[in-house]
């Protein structure tokens, strides 16, 4: 009897834990967009003065750090140039590319003051580990913008590895640029151009 009770106890305790882990990719993206919208709506610096700095930092810390796979993003962004980089250079590339992506993604969402996000039908199977979640950002007076999130399942979690705004990937759109940079100044040249860009962006 005791054994049965213990078993029941374990069963009831375990169920909610399992439920938390079973996030669908759609729920994960919804968590991300909800968190970003809350930051955007409540940031007085952004709402009153149009200063995106503090909101960008919050979005980075609370949303992007935990839910974006920046290593995968950097690999995709660099394309075939990635393998030419030494481990140290790869670290530097991830660090700089991450800053650039955080700025671009935040800028794309801080345009809005009071947006709503619609989830469009995303086609995927329950067993898929790499899916695209389609959303549309709406605000009166601004034409609706499609934002699609490519997410992959890593362990129990869904991580974003590409964001596509109105059909343009914030990640792969750099491939041709990086090829040209590497041809001109090697991997070091590409890192330097990223650093220069991030410094000018940081000053704003």
């Amino acid at each position: 009897m005791k054994k049965l009770l213990a078993l029941l106890l374990v069963f009831f305790l375990a169920t909610p834990v399992l439920a938390v882990e079973e996030l669908t990719p759609e729920m994960q993206v919804k968590k991300i967009t909800d968190a970003v919208l809350e930051i955007v709506r409540n940031d007085t610096e952004l709402q009153k003065n149009g200063n995106t700095g503090p909101a960008t930092q919050l979005i980075d810390e609370r949303v992007l750090q935990p839910h974006f796979n920046f290593l995968h993003m950097t690999k995709l962004g660099l394309g075939r140039e990635w393998r030419k980089a030494s481990p140290a250079q790869q670290d530097a590339l991830v660090k700089e590319f991450k800053t650039l992506l955080v700025n671009t993604y935040s800028n794309a969402l801080t345009i809005y003051k009071d947006p709503t996000v619609n989830f469009k039908t995303s086609r995927y199977k329950a067993t898929d580990t790499d899916v695209m979640i389609r959303t549309q950002v709406l605000q009166t007076g601004i034409a609706p913008v499609d934002i699609d999130y490519n997410v992959e399942k890593l362990g129990n979690e869904w991580k974003v590895y590409d964001v596509v705004v109105a059909g343009v990937s914030l990640v792969t759109n750099y491939r041709q640029f990086f090829s040209q940079e590497v041809r001109k100044g090697g991997i070091e040249g590409a890192i330097k151009s990223l650093q220069a860009k991030n410094q000018t962006q940081g000053k704003k």
Binding site: K75, L76, L78, G79, R80, W82, R83, L100, N103, T104, S106, N107, A108, I111, M132, R134, T140, G141, I142, A143, V145, D146, V164, V165, A166, G167, V168, S169, L170, T172, N173, Y174, R175, Q176, F177, S179, Q180, S193, L194, A196, K197, Q201
Partner: protein, 241 residues
């Protein structure tokens, strides 16, 4: 439906199509491999267009945005979208998407009547979604190759295929059929400024993301076109590195 006066335009379009089939050679991915053999020319055209934008179009669009209240701005955008939906319907039909084409015509019918001459987009609320189609996309569906990237003076980024598309879009644009010149030019002018004002948000993203503006906008244009051709579901580039 097509006025007699534009029959000659159809002839021009047919001739363009024949010419186009001759250059349907380039294909494949644009993301890594550069399909921009005219980069030097393109970059100077790009600077020319940006100069023109900075000096003239952008300031007017900024003023327009500041003066025109948001609801009116939306109505103006809706009005031109409604006119545009007519050729969207035609292009969907040419691409064999009969259902979409019928939905586009439904949009025009609803928005022109209930939506008061297109000022209010009532159709979207009734689940008749707005589509984005043009002759460049139709030619792509018909199998014509993209051709090299090209920056056109005044019209901006394009490809060889989209340039032929534009050549078909311009004469079939209902605004170009309006008869007194003054009205036609004013309408085209207002539409240009309204469109430009709607691009401010996209411009902000590009400013944050672009390390080299030309390269960023080239990539964005090509990816965006691919997305539109495949109606939001382009084939995924599965290459991993």
């Amino acid at each position: 439906m097509i006025p007699v006066s534009s029959r000659s335009r159809l002839v021009v379009v047919s001739l363009l199509l024949i010419a186009l089939s001759g250059c349907a050679t380039t294909n494949g991915t644009y993301r890594d491999r550069s399909n921009d053999p005219w980069e030097g020319f393109n970059r100077s055209m790009f600077s020319f267009n940006e100069g023109l934008d900075r000096a003239l179009i952008k300031p007017v669009a900024k003023g327009y945005e500041a003066v025109v209240p948001t609801p009116i701005n939306t109505m103006i955008t809706n009005f031109f979208n409604n006119i545009g939906d007519l050729m969207v319907a035609v292009n969907n039909l040419l691409q064999g998407k009969v259902k979409d084409s019928a939905s586009d015509l439904g949009r025009v019918a609803l928005n022109s009547t209930l939506g008061i001459a297109g000022l209010i987009d009532v159709a979207t609320g009734m689940t008749l979604e707005k589509h984005n189609e043009d002759f460049g996309q139709t030619f792509a569906r018909w199998g014509f190759g993209e051709g090299p990237f090209v920056v056109l003076p005044f019209f901006g980024p394009s490809t060889v295929r989209d340039t032929f598309g534009l050549a078909a879009d311009l004469p079939t644009d209902p605004v170009s059929w309006v008869s007194p010149d003054v009205v036609r030019f004013s309408a085209a002018g207002v539409r240009l400024i309204d469109t430009r004002a709607d691009l401010f948000s996209a411009e902000k993203i590009a400013e944050a993301g672009a390390i080299d503006r030309y390269s960023y906008l080239r990539g964005a244009y090509l990816q965006r076109r691919q997305y539109l051709i495949y109606d939001g579901r382009p084939p995924r580039d599965k290459e991993e590195y």
